[in-house]
Amino acid sequence: MPDHPIKVLIAKPGLDGHDRGAKVLARGLRDEGFEVVYTGLRQTPEMIATAALQEDVDVVGLSILSGAHMTLLPRICKLLRDEGLDDVLITAGGIIPDDDIPALKEAGIAEVFGPGTTIREVADYLRANANPRD
């Protein structure tokens, strides 16, 4: 139902202490009218999957700058699928080389937002592609 805010989980998987980008995005999406759940740093894939399930989010946004994206992101996609959250839109952002993007999309990441992406671009993408809950 479009009259309810879209709910987004912003999470930072793995051992990466840089959360400025995630916080700026969380704040920016708030200003775009989203309900944003922020879970903080150093999240395991299991923590992220549990939070997505309990919060019943429409979107999971993963911020990762550590280089471990090829290990962590497919694992998160699999856990979400295993929990039955296969209608949740999963996106990623951070430092992710272009060469890795096709494999990530294959694994279940719908879109990868690199440096220089504006908040408005992310917000428009999420509005166009999230499946709202009942």
Partner: protein, 329 residues
């Protein structure tokens, strides 16, 4: 309004039965339906409400940054040590400008994310004043029916008068940080009057002992004792505790006090609290229903005409309200 249609009723039954069987996804979906006030939520609640009423609902409130989320996390750890399941509803404010919200209470609670018997749900207030979301009470009833025997409701950061949590909870904990002010702050009317327990958190900070002593002097010593034959409504007589939530100091003691406050069937105080909660819930739903009916296709035009008449000062607001109430069934 009235009965939900056949399709939402079937979906509501499906979600309610799933939630009762321990399917956490069904519980989560149901909480979303409740936040969005859909007919599915109503159908499910009709099934679940009779199953609820067993849980101890604890409200945790206090100023922003006083340590509510950290205290909730420390309470979860202590409750889980005893093997009991626990649910949390954590409310954060919605933007009055964009409707968006940043729900950040989970940051302090993520240590428990792997535990199936801990269910944490963030909730945006969505324009509801008073420190809670409109859906908080119904959400607590769902978690109660699902078998969580302790439900912690964390309010938005509050100031002096957001007392709604006291009606939603069996037991109300008001947090204060050290150096919250002088003794005059402690004798002002409002939030501190509805506290069953006052917790001075950040107990390792300078001034914490002094703050606790001031609160004890002002809240406890001169509060009327229960059972002295005077039946007038009166402020509660809270216990004042000192905690350091970040290291769990004082938290086992708080949990023991909370467990002593667990409502019993033969306790007149908790019966009154439950009646107040029922009243708040039913009035809110009745208000919603009246509004919805006055805006349906049959009434919209007449309703708008009446409102315009008040705006133009052709009709006074009391007569307008009477007229609108006469229009609903």
């Amino acid at each position: 309004m009235g009965e939900p249609g056949p399709e939402p009723a079937a979906r509501g039954r499906e979600l309610a039965e799933g939630a009762l069987a321990g399917d956490r996804r069904a519980t989560a979906r149901l909480l979303t339906a409740i936040e969005n006030r859909t007919p599915v939520a109503e159908a499910a609640l009709r099934i679940l409400y009779p199953q609820a009423g067993q849980a101890h609902i604890v409200g945790i409130t206090g100023p922003p940054g006083s340590g509510k989320s950290t205290l909730v996390s420390a309470l979860i750890a202590n409750v889980r040590e005893a093997g009991r399941p626990v649910a949390v509803i954590a409310v954060d404010p919605s933007s009055p400008i964009t409707g968006g919200a940043l729900l950040g209470d989970r940051v302090r609670m993520q240590a428990h994310a792997g535990d199936r018997d801990v269910f944490i749900r963030s909730m945006a207030a969505r324009g509801h004043a008073g420190g809670l979301a409109a859906a908080t009470g119904a959400a607590a009833a769902v978690l109660d029916a699902c078998g969580f025997d302790l439900i912690l409701i964390e309010t938005v950061g509050t100031g002096q008068s957001e007392v709604e949590v006291a009606a939603a909870a069996d037991t109300t904990v008001v947090l204060e940080a050290p150096e919250m002010g002088d003794e005059v702050q402690a004798i002002k009317a409002g939030l501190l009057e509805v506290a069953d327990i006052v917790v001075v958190n950040k107990g390792d900070r300078p001034g914490a002992q002094r703050t606790a002593a001031q609160l004890r002097a002002m809240l406890v010593a001169i509060a009327p004792r229960p059972g002295d034959g005077d039946e007038r409504p009166r402020p509660k007589r809270p216990e004042v505790l000192l905690t350091t939530a970040s290291t769990s100091v004082g938290v086992p003691e708080l949990l023991a006090v909370l467990d002593r406050h667990r409502p019993t069937d033969h306790d007149s105080g908790s019966a009154a609290a439950r009646l107040a909660r029922a009243e708040a819930q039913v009035w809110a739903i009745a208000g919603d229903r009246v509004r919805a009916q006055l805006h349906d296709d049959r009434h919209r035009e007449a309703t708008e005409a009446t409102l315009r008449a008040v705006a133009d000062h052709e009709l006074d607001p009391y007569a307008a309200a009477d007229r609108l109430l006469g229009d609903v069934q």
